[in-house]
């Protein structure tokens, strides 16, 4: 497999820079021509394979080829995470990526979703197969871990679809540590198919899973969004950013092993858990690329948990369509 080497990358970057500089010189001699346009991307979580395509696009120089110098910033705390949509809206940060549930709690912020990396939600409830839980109805009377309000929203939605209410289950407040589940104190865990489910399966547990997607939750997830004002002012930047981003994700999907290696090289402390990261990425592939759907596809008309679609100004696939035009 042909791999871009550093010299090739450098050469490619130089050529792009040269072309750009010539173009800029021709149009606007006052501008500093040789510099890439700096853009920042704020993640919604700590670094992990949920953001693999961004790292790939960065490390393989796709952003540079679009004249961008992208900075990828992980979150530092849950407050930091909550503050992201506001910062994006104000233009302090150029792009954000995150779960739809989290974004919906910030609907008042003027941001616009421009692409969906996952076509389906990675959220799921799951239990051990030997727990006797076979259908969602069996959740009645069981202990269910609830990590946060947004998880509670998801769980309510799931239960309601099956004639149950939140009172029918026994809620247990939990953190991210899965020990209570492993030790049987909590029978049902709520987590991501790409994370907790993989962890539990790698421990050899046989699970029955209830993905939100399989119970009628139709929206995508892992959304890329940007400030509404910035999008209107410079739609070209969003288009270039998306084009490079999708190239990164597509390359990662075509080369899962190498893509995960790129991440592990960048974050050496993750290497000890390499097998988990690979399995996690494997589990995210059906979310990213269900048969016949193009990566990044954004369906702004898809209903939320029940029937309401997203507010129209909150979602726009225009930049995505333009980013794909050249393909």
């Amino acid at each position: 497999m042909h791999r871009l080497t550093l010299p090739t990358l450098t050469a490619a970057t130089l050529i792009v820079l040269l072309t750009l500089s010539l173009a800029c010189r021709a149009s606007d001699s006052a501008k500093q021509p040789s510099e890439l346009e700096a853009v920042s991307l704020k993640l919604s979580w700590y670094d992990n394979v949920q953001f693999l395509g961004f790292y790939v696009a960065q490390e393989r120089g796709y952003y540079a080829e679009e004249g961008l110098e992208a900075e990828v910033i992980p979150v530092s705390s849950s407050e930091d995470m909550d503050a992201t949509p506001g910062k994006v809206a104000r233009g302090e940060i150029d792009f954000g990526v995150g779960g739809l549930a989290g974004l919906l709690t910030h609907q008042s912020e003027p941001v616009t979703i421009i692409a969906a990396i996952y076509q389906y939600s990675p959220s799921a409830l799951f239990a051990r197969r030997d727990s006797g839980i076979v259908t969602l109805a069996d959740l009645a009377g069981r202990t269910v871990a609830v990590k946060s309000d947004s998880w509670q929203t998801a769980i309510i939605a799931l239960l309601e679809l099956h004639g149950l209410a939140l009172d029918d289950i026994e809620q247990v407040r939990s953190g991210f540590d899965m020990t209570p589940f492993y030790e049987g104190e909590v029978e049902v865990w709520a987590g991501f198919l790409t994370n907790e489910v993989v962890r539990a399966r790698q421990r050899g547990l046989d699970l029955v899973t209830f993905p939100l997607y399989e119970y009628g939750v139709k929206h995508g997830d892992n959304m890329v969004y940007t400030g509404r004002e910035a999008l209107n002012a410079d739609p070209d930047r969003a288009e270039r950013f998306l084009r490079a981003t999708l190239r990164g994700w597509e390359w990662a999907a075509a080369n899962p092993g190498e893509a995960v290696d790129i991440m592990l090289e960048r974050f050496p402390e993750m290497a000890a858990d390499a097998n988990f990261h690979l399995a996690s990425f494997q589990a995210s592939l059906p979310l990213m690329l269900p048969g016949g759907v193009r990566l990044g596809t954004l369906d702004c008309t898809a209903p939320l948990y029940r029937d309401d679609p997203l507010p129209p100004e909150f979602c726009s696939d225009e930049a995505l369509s333009r980013a794909r035009e050249g393909d």
Binding site: L161, P211, L287, G291
Partner: protein, 911 residues
Amino acid sequence: MPRDSFRRRQFVVLLGLSLALIGIMLGTVLPVTWSSLTRRVTMQLEAESVHRAAEMEHWLEEAANAALLIASDISRHFGNDGIPPTDGAAESASQPLANMTERLRVFRDVLDDVASVSLLDLAAGRVFASSEPTLVSRVRENEDYFINGQHGLYVSPLSHSVGAEAPEIVVAAPITDLEDVLLGVVVLRLDIDDLVDALGHPLGLEEDGRTYLVDRYGFYATMPPGVEGTPLGKLAESEGITEALTGKTGTGRYVDPRGTSVIGAYRWLPEAQVGLLVEADWSVVTAEIQRAWTPVIISGAVLLVLAVLAARYLANWLVRPLERIGIAARALEGGDLARRAPTGGPDEIGQLADTFNRMADSVQRSYEDLERAVSERTQELEELNRQLEGDIVIRRQAEEALRESEQKYRSLFENMLNGFAYHRMVVDDDGRPVDYEFLDLNDAFEQLTGLKRENVVGRTVKEVLPGIDKDPADWIGVYGRVALQGEEAHFEQFSENLQRWYSVTAYSPQMGYFVALFFDVTERKQAEETLRRSEENLRAYLEGAPDGVYINDLNGVLLYGNREAQRITGYTREELVGGNFLDLGLLPAEYIDKAAGLLALNAEGQPTGPDEFELVRKDGTHIWVEITTMPVEREQDTVVVGFTRDISERRRMEEQLQRSQLLASLGEMTAGIAHEVNNPLAAILLYAELVNRAGLPQQVKKDLRVIRDEARRASAIMKDLLTYSRKAEPVTQPVDVHPILKKVIDMRRYQEQVRNVEIATDFSAGPLRVHGNSSQLTQLFMNLIVNAEEAVEQAEERKITVTTVADGEWARISVTDTGAGIPKKNLSQVFIPFFSTKTQGRGTGLGLSTCYGIATAHRGTIRAENNRGAGSTFIVELPRVQADGDQARTGRRRGRPGAGRRPSPSGGGAS
């Protein structure tokens, strides 16, 4: 002098002659075994790959047919009533739905390899009934199989669905009512693990071969048999997989994902979107080649010995007759096996010529024997190839038969799925089943069993088939448990009456009643039997091959390795085949280029070898092998067949020889240096003394003393060097080594007490007399004991054992220590002057080389070995003086001590 050189010349000529003979043998036998083995293994793997792909296709076809049949059965079941309404709510599990679930479960159980059977409603794309309760009410509206299954039969590619642990293949078919109005979709989820169990090990190999599937992303779809774990997060990377994933089909030798060199056949199955890999460990090939070569190697060795003996004998004769014989020998070498030396002349020369001719006869005979053996072997291989081709024909016929059977099976199902009979159990007063009554049956049942509805319905089985209660199959008992205890029964049964095989599934829809479903599986059974026999032939063929062979592609990827290759390398076949020998860890880094070079020659169509390689076995031990390779062109590519032979023992001897040559030449050089340096040293010493007179400043005097001391030290080193290199024999007389040893040990006693070293002796009884020079022997033993003291200095146990043994003509003195031992790479170098692992400045660095000098000057030997436990042993062997007279000469004539009875390296060197 002339006698010596003549001896050497003759020896060389004869050695060359015998090597040439071996070369001729190799050249004749090699291509035969080579090409046939290549052909065989590649053919087998390709055949396996085609066969497995066909099997998989067949498997999918079977599942697709089953889906159609179930769809038609369910369509009829619902009739015009349509699918019962569901909103996904659990309580809507009405009675018809429960019945449907039960029916789907029966389908799942009847159909092997089907993990679940589900029905999707049209409106919501939701599972409304399934053999697996956990799937009920899940949404499937976006799934390919739901969308495509509405329009007709659809087989999905292998893919991971959201939340699934392992990739799946799904078959879907539309359900319609009697007026062809679409009602929903039936979905069969296939059990890939079952498929792979069915694919199993290729070539009848156990651990050495495997078949597995890789999904389009390069993850394992199924784990190869024998590989631990589930496919979750297991990326499969190898050259074969890369090729398969880029849509290519072929064979090659490469390193498989486990790092084992394998020979593999890979292909991309576009419909299923899956890479199919059939691999055999490279060791399978090498083991084959090894076996093929054993007889050849033995014959070669015999010839070599013959030639050496002849050389020694002939060496005592004159030049001319030998030259004539030499001419004959060269002719022989050139392949003229009928050529003989002229006889006549002096008696001895005549005898010599006769001897040579006899040898030539024997060589010719051996060669002819070999040729015969080769042609027999060739015939045998060709016969086996014919058998193999026959086997493939039989397989094809068997597959054809399977396909035909399946078509019949399908047409039977067009009306009803299978033979169907509904019964009521008849029980006695104790509730035990004693008979059963036929309530209903279908056309298929009539056709399958030959029993007619009008003769059967309303009658009991005892009436219909008298004597059935005595049938060893215990039909009534088995069905009794089904009807009364609700067990499901699934079995295959041969009917003696009808001479047919049936697959029977029985379940109880209601207490006291049971349904029996019959499939006629006679054709399948027969086909299976034929397939099984053909597999067995293939297996016996490979397993029974007596030779060791390996095959690789032009990239070095091992495609095949036989059992002997496995033995040589210590790798299992699984580990070898699929691996590239260039990066398998089998070749030490310094041999990679050489091996790659040979591979490049192979790529140009040239055979190579024999070349010597040092291999690293799996357990880390090293083994010397001689490898001969030959490229063999196939239709689409070229592979290389290699033959490997173990030459470790020969290498060891050669190394020993080289080492003693090195030590001898070093001796000559150091003698020269010592003589040259001694004079200037003496001058330095003298002038340092001369200058050092009274009246000089104190500092100058001190400096002069340093010059003098250092010059003395240099002089001591020179003296030791001279001892090491001394060529002349020392003045010797018969001396007993025991008093010398005791004296040395006494001299070291104080030092040993200080250093807390225990010294033990184990002397042979009585005096052990050798021809020796007391003072040199004292120095020899002193050096060895001091060396041992230093070796144990850092050890926990500090013990030195001095052992003497009278062994025939030799006196053996061993000094064993309990130190850290000598690193293996240093063992052969410890006697080289200035080779020292000690701190610089301590000792002259000549202690052990002095020992070597003294031992050889005494016509003895010295060697170092590592003990099995800890520490090392230095062994000195000196010619022994027996009863009286000059026995040492006898020893000399017999060659070097220890020859032929040297402790083997693995046998624990410490004696």
